[in-house]
């Protein structure tokens, strides 16, 4: 097998249709299975004399990691092998739109930035849950399937918590795409999911403003500027951008990992519920730090050594996303208190927890009359007020900052289905809910908790008060 394949060549049952990409690292061809079926992509590394050794490492890493990943957000690895001593991978071909195409039209409307950003953030979180950090998130590596789901491609620089890190062993130099690299990536730290959160912030900045926060640096000095300097606040570039969006973007772009969003799921949560984002100075200001601040950061950075995180999934366990499902109509104070105790225990000791109080209003109790909309609004507001009221003792007990808690009212006919869908949408780690106390009510309505326990994509704790 030569390294440049001609159209018509057949490898392991796949006929080469055309070359689609000749990158610095790999050659990519569009291929079709001999027996018919969906088109695929065939990838071979560039191994000729003078190629960078990371080409081979990147190829091996992609093979190792794709073989271990599952779910809709990553392309499927169909086959891998070796022909005439040249290894190849056959990968699912991703249709749909590339984020690079969309980014060319930036700035985009705020609503679209939030929608695309949330979809990307959820895909990243799903990746991090599988113990992988991508380490090269940029628009060209993000595709949207026809149904709006994000697919991440090119895992050549990725890190897997349970696999040898071939990329790090190959070179001491930082690797990635300069415009999108996080400060700690520039310092050679690998395996922290928050590095991908930073790159997500760069993408949000680009989509919202049409420019990159630190440009596309070509020299090491310019690359390192983000270790000390700030980007221009997005609202300085586009004054009509809402403060909450700037708050989210600059929270992703914090220089130190510990100041950044703990997980991509938190970013998604904020992008989906913008009115609940607590806007601080970060979201409002229109100036960046002055030269004296930058200089003091430069001195401080001399002593700082960011710590590598060995297991991406272990970091996520410190940032649990807990849902408390509260039935506002049935349940006495004893059950409400028991729910607070259970929720408090789940987040106690975890540094980056987030808790969402959620309730479901069933439309059956709404009238069909003209004031329908107003009534719904009133009921919605009333429910939110009750949720806040429920949470007050818990907030006091935990001494929590207000941004740790979110409140959400769902309008749906089937509470169980609504809760399961919501848990999946926000990638909850744990749901706490009360059992319906009265057995006659349970017999009539069916058990919501039983169905949630059976179908939820997360752990579920069902709280019951002791019966005298």
């Amino acid at each position: 097998m030569t390294e440049r394949l001609q159209a018509g060549t057949v490898i392991a049952g796949y006929r080469v249709v055309e070359r689609v990409h000749q990158g610095g690292m790999a050659m990519i061809y569009r291929v079709a299975p001999e027996g018919g079926g969906h088109g695929c992509v065939l990838k071979t590394p560039r191994l000729e004399f003078g190629s960078h050794p990371t080409c081979s490492a990147g190829f091996d890493v992609e093979q190792m990691i794709l073989g271990r990943l599952a779910g809709p957000h990553v392309p499927r690895l169909i086959a891998s092998g070796e022909e005439d001593a040249v290894p190849y991978l056959v990968i699912e071909q991703i249709g749909g739109t590339s984020l690079a195409e969309i980014a060319r039209e930036a700035p985009r409307p705020v609503e679209e930035v939030a929608r695309l950003g949330a979809a990307l953030a959820l895909a990243l979180h799903e990746l991090h849950r599988q113990d992988v950090v991508h380490h090269d998130i940029k628009p060209a590596h993000v595709f949207f399937r026809a149904d709006g789901q994000v697919v991440l491609i090119d895992f050549g620089l990725a890190f897997h918590g349970q696999l040898p890190d071939l990329v790090a062993a190959e070179s001491d130099r930082p690797m990635g795409t300069p415009a999108y690299m996080a400060p700690e990536e520039i310092l050679g730290v690998r395996g922290d999911p928050r590095s991908d959160v930073y790159s997500l912030g760069v993408i949000l900045y680009l989509l919202a403003t049409g420019s990159l926060p630190f440009g596309a640096p070509t020299s090491n000095v310019r690359l390192r500027w983000r270790l000390y300097g700030d980007p221009l606040p997005p609202r300085r570039l586009r004054r009509e951008l809402p403060e909450w969006l700037q708050e989210i973007i600059l929270h992703c772009l914090e220089r130190r990992v510990e100041d950044r969003y703990a997980t991509a799921a938190h970013v998604a949560d904020d992008l989906v519920h913008p009115h609940q984002v607590v806007v601080g100075e970060r979201g409002r200001h229109l100036r960046r730090a002055g030269p004296w601040t930058v200089l003091s950061r430069w001195f401080a950075a001399i002593a700082e050594r960011p710590v590598a995180c060995r297991r991406p999934s272990a970091h996520l366990t410190q940032a649990p996303q807990v849902l408390v499902a509260i039935d506002l109509d049935h349940g006495g104070e004893a059950l409400m208190q028991a729910l607070r105790v259970a929720a408090g225990r789940l987040v106690a000791g975890e540094p980056h927890w987030r808790l969402t109080c959620v309730t479901v209003i069933e439309p059956s109790i709404l009238t069909e009359q003209d004031e329908h909309h107003e009534l719904t609004q009133a009921l919605h507001t009333q429910s939110l007020v009750k949720l806040h009221h429920w949470a007050q003792p818990l907030i006091r007990h935990l001494g929590a900052q207000p941004e740790r808690l979110r409140f959400h009212v769902i309008l749906a006919g089937s509470p169980a289905q609504a809760l399961v869908d919501y848990a999946r949408a926000v990638q909850a780690d744990h749901m706490v809910m009360g059992a319906r106390g009265s057995s006659s009510l349970r017999r009539f309505l069916g058990s919501v908790s039983a169905r949630v326990v059976a179908e939820a994509p997360c752990s579920v704790t069902v709280v019951r008060t002791s019966v005298a």
Partner: protein, 253 residues
């Protein structure tokens, strides 16, 4: 086919039985014993008997330094505890066991795989692969693309960082594996896997160690198998072997 890799059994029958049972359940079709069947533990004859039956069934075996020491010599290179155990072991072995041990080769091959107790580099000198430098020497001493060794009682994986498995290796990466997580050994580089010790783990975890390699999918999985280490320790004390050897099994170090 899945190949089970057992190193450093060290006369620990309970650990050996537990690992064999685990490997059978995991679908192992072939066993390889990477040396040091005897030494330290109280069941040299029973372990040799069990492994000889495995050899009749197609298992591959190589010789370890303790196996060699059990056949004779002064054991000057050994620490006093290991030497005491070897002298005790010699007294247990009959003619059958001695002749079995004396037939063991230093290395064995299966296609592209090399099996050796210490290192492919000067295997009879029993060097330890304690780091990347020794791993590089080992990888350069063989044309096999994957080398399985024992001798060092920690599970470890090394690989050549520069591509092209037929050129000399310059630069080696290392990785401490997660038990139960399969690692694909890609074809583009050389690999060196240390299976860990079945009968005397020394990394602070008292579960027995072994590894399983699927030569079709090229997936390598390291395992830790809990076993009745108290029984093995009691036998060591009952046999009058040094007390330290019993304690090591309980602490796993």
């Amino acid at each position: 086919m899945k190949i089970a890799l057992f190193a450093d059994t060290h006369s620990n029958l309970e650990a050996l039985q537990a690992c064999l049972a685990h490997a059978a359940q995991a679908g192992a079709g072939r066993s390889v014993f990477l040396g040091d069947i005897v030494g330290y533990g109280a069941d040299p004859v029973a372990c040799l008997d069990l492994i000889a039956r495995q050899a009749d069934g197609g298992a591959l075996l190589v010789r370890g330094n303790h196996d060699q020491a059990a056949l004779g010599g002064l054991g000057e290179n050994m620490n006093p505890v290991a030497r005491d155990a070897i002298y005790w072991t010699r007294a247990q072995l009959g003619a059958v066991e001695r002749s079995f041990l004396s037939t063991l080769p230093l290395t064995a091959r299966h296609g592209d795989l090399l099996f050796v107790h210490a290192s492919a580099d000067k295997p009879g000198d029993w060097p330890y692969v304690h780091g990347s430098d020794q791993a590089e020497l080992c990888l350069n001493a063989t044309d096999a693309s994957i080398c399985f060794v024992g001798h060092v009682h920690h599970q470890m994986l090394y690989w050549s960082t520069m591509p092209g498995q037929r050129k000399p290796v310059s630069g080696v990466g290392s990785f401490t594996p997660t038990p139960g997580a399969s690692i694909p050994l890609t074809r583009n580089r050389k690999w060196l896997a240390i299976a860990g010790s079945v009968g005397q783990p020394r990394d602070g975890n008292n579960a027995a160690s072994y590894a399983l390699f699927d030569d079709e999918s090229r997936l390598l999985t390291f395992y830790r198998v809990p076993y009745d280490h108290l029984a093995a320790a009691r036998k060591i004390l009952a046999a009058g072997l040094p007390e330290q050897l019993a304690q090591q099994l309980q602490r796993g170090e």
